[in-house]
């Protein structure tokens, strides 16, 4: 091969900057994973709250990075290292723009939202929380926004307090003033509940907490893929989310934090890339974001996350939110027609998540039967056991929609639920 032929063997993929006028069927067609059948039924993928799927453009971007740009970041003097560093840091700028962070240095790459919460627990919590202090979480949290705080409370002799929720799955924010005190060190709340889909009034919670001088960590995993999130408008102190729920790869997440908080925090892990100078006597840490990114990061996943953000923006987050609201309305209405189903979580303001139970049938049996008709849902406690306990169920079945779903997917769900009814009588 000549040099020229070699270069052509891997071609830089084409990208579309604007899909605002594409039809939803055109957009759906870009997701290769959806073009398959399960047991002879077309796949209806309704487990997006667990993990979303990846469009061809993101897959191509990953291939291109690995084919043409990969090296380690922030250290080499050679061309490839520069390409990799550019791709990596460009992705950080995309993240910052996407959530309206004032500076990309305030966007830390983590393994996922869970690592983001743990990073704050270790870096901030272990430094500033003392015996007798209090941390407030909510009754709607995912285990990822409960367990790290419990671990901290146990270590420090601090107390975990909980904002309760109603039967409909809405937080009782009126209780917050009685929970907040001068002992409160942090409030931790999910933007959107993964188990029920409730959109929580985080602006109100943040305002109340700030009135007491208390910072707020927001788990945005289920919000960022589905609506326009502006961390400055929210005035969130920390905001975490995961790439694989927003058409990106697994193994990558974001911790956004206010600069003064991030700078005051201890590093999470020690190692390469997070230092300015090292001697055996003393190490000086690098400035943010690198202070929190020890070791070789998941460069490929970071680049993929950047491509996923480009993809979502090419459609438009407002358009995505409208589409999902339409699908949610259609699905809710169709499910409500079935008298053997009870929807759990009926807040007026919901993201495209429907948790439900088929009366008299365990959610795992529902999930198995739906799967044999090509309908993929989640059955279980959704890593939110306190939510299940509060509602008095061991588990629920959960259908979660993304913009690339369509009415056929919902109709397949309804048909399969009818089969559940037929089998169990």
């Amino acid at each position: 091969m000549t040099l020229n032929e070699l270069e052509q063997a891997v071609a830089e993929p084409r990208t579309h900057a604007d899909r605002s006028d594409w039809t939803w069927e055109q957009i759906r067609a870009e997701f290769p994973v959806l073009r398959q059948s399960i047991d002879g039924h077309p796949l209806s993928y309704l487990d997006n709250a667990a993990s979303s799927q990846m469009p061809q453009e993101v897959i191509d971007r990953l291939t291109w990075y690995q084919s043409a740009e990969h090296s380690n970041v922030h250290r080499g003097v050679h061309t490839l290292s520069q390409k990799a560093t550019d791709a990596y840091e460009k992705a950080r700028e995309k993240v910052a723009r996407f959530i309206n962070a004032p500076d990309s240095a305030q966007c830390i790459f983590t393994r996922g939202a869970t690592e983001g919460v743990n990073l704050v627990m270790h870096g901030w919590g272990r430094k500033f929380v003392e015996e007798g202090d209090e941390i407030i979480v909510t009754a709607l949290e995912h285990h990822a926004n409960i367990v790290p705080w419990q671990m901290l409370c146990e270590e420090k002799g601090a107390t975990l307090k909980v904002i309760p929720m109603t039967d409909a799955g809405e937080l009782v924010v009126d209780e917050l003033p009685t929970l907040l005190s001068d002992k409160t060190k942090m409030v931790c709340v999910s933007h959107v509940s993964n188990a029920l889909g409730t959109v929580n009034p985080v602006e109100d919670i943040i305002e109340q907490a700030h009135a007491h001088g208390v910072p707020v960590l927001v788990d945005g995993c289920q919000a960022v893929p589905h609506m326009k999130v502006d961390v400055q408008a929210l005035d969130a102190d920390f905001y975490v989310f995961s790439g694989h729920k927003m058409c990106g790869p697994t193994g990558i997440g974001i911790l956004y934090g206010k600069r003064e908080l991030l700078e005051a925090m201890n590093p999470f892990m020690g190692g390469g890339d997070m230092i300015r100078t090292v001697t055996f006597e003393k190490t000086e840490y690098a400035p943010i974001p690198h202070k929190f990114e020890a070791g070789t990061p998941s460069i490929l996943a970071v680049v993929g996350l950047g491509a996923a953000i480009d993809y979502l923006e090419s459609i438009g987050m407002d358009r995505i939110a409208r589409r999902e609201a339409e699908l949610l309305e259609y699905a809710t209405q169709r499910i409500e027609e079935l008298d053997f189903i009870r929807i759990l979580g009926t807040a007026p303001n919901k993201a495209s998540v429907i948790s439900f139970e088929v009366l008299g049938v365990h959610p795992h049996d529902v999930g198995t039967i739906l799967d044999t008709e090509g309908v993929a849902i989640r059955a279980g406690h959704h890593c939110a056991q306190p939510v299940m306990d509060r509602l008095g169920v061991p588990a629920t079945a959960r259908a979660s929609l993304a913009f690339y779903n369509n009415k056929d997917d919902v109709d397949a769900l309804i048909g399969a639920l009818q089969t559940v009814k037929d089998i169990f009588g």
């Binding site: 795992h364 198995t368 044999t372 406690h381 061991p394 169990f424």
Partner: protein
């Protein structure tokens, strides 16, 4: 896989009308089996006549999915009156059938339990069917509690 293979009439029937369901006051073997991932939880209570090493009576209580409940119900029917040794053999064979290591064809001990063979093709549901059996095993061994996760994970040896 044909859905009816998994949710056969007999399984659905046992789910709806579980046999030997309830407490057994005179029991001298007890164990609680729990699957924390799905909330399935069963108590197995057996009366073993120690002189003969025989399961005189057995009942189960608790809740869970159709597969686990039917498995518990049919298990009680199959081990009632058997010796502890025979029950242990059946526990092992049932487990092997569910993990695809035993072909139920030609096995005359498993009898009606063969309806569970289809579960082997759905690995995510194997724990459901096996939970009551492992709970029985624990009860017979004098262990009081088992979980499908953690240190007493009966699948840990796999």
């Amino acid at each position: 896989m044909n859905l009816r293979n998994l949710y056969q009439e007999v399984i659905l029937d046992h789910n709806k009308n579980p046999r030997n369901f309830g407490e057994l006051e005179e029991a001298n073997r007890h164990a609680q089996g729990h699957n924390p991932l799905c909330g399935d939880s069963y108590e197995i209570a057996a009366l073993v006549v120690d002189d003969e090493g025989r399961i005189e009576d057995i009942r189960f209580s608790g809740k869970g999915c159709a597969i686990s409940k039917a498995a518990a119900s049919m298990m009680t029917q199959h081990v009632k009156g058997k010796t502890v040794d025979d029950a242990e053999t059946l526990i092992e064979e049932f487990r092997q059938m569910l993990t695809g290591k035993l072909d139920p064809e030609g096995n005359d001990r498993l009898r009606h339990l063969k309806v569970f063979a289809g579960v082997a093709q759905r690995p995510e549901r194997v724990k459901c069917a096996v939970l009551p059996w492992h709970t029985l095993h624990a009860a017979l061994e004098g262990q009081e509690e088992i979980s499908t996760e953690g240190e007493h994970d009966p699948f840990g040896e796999e």
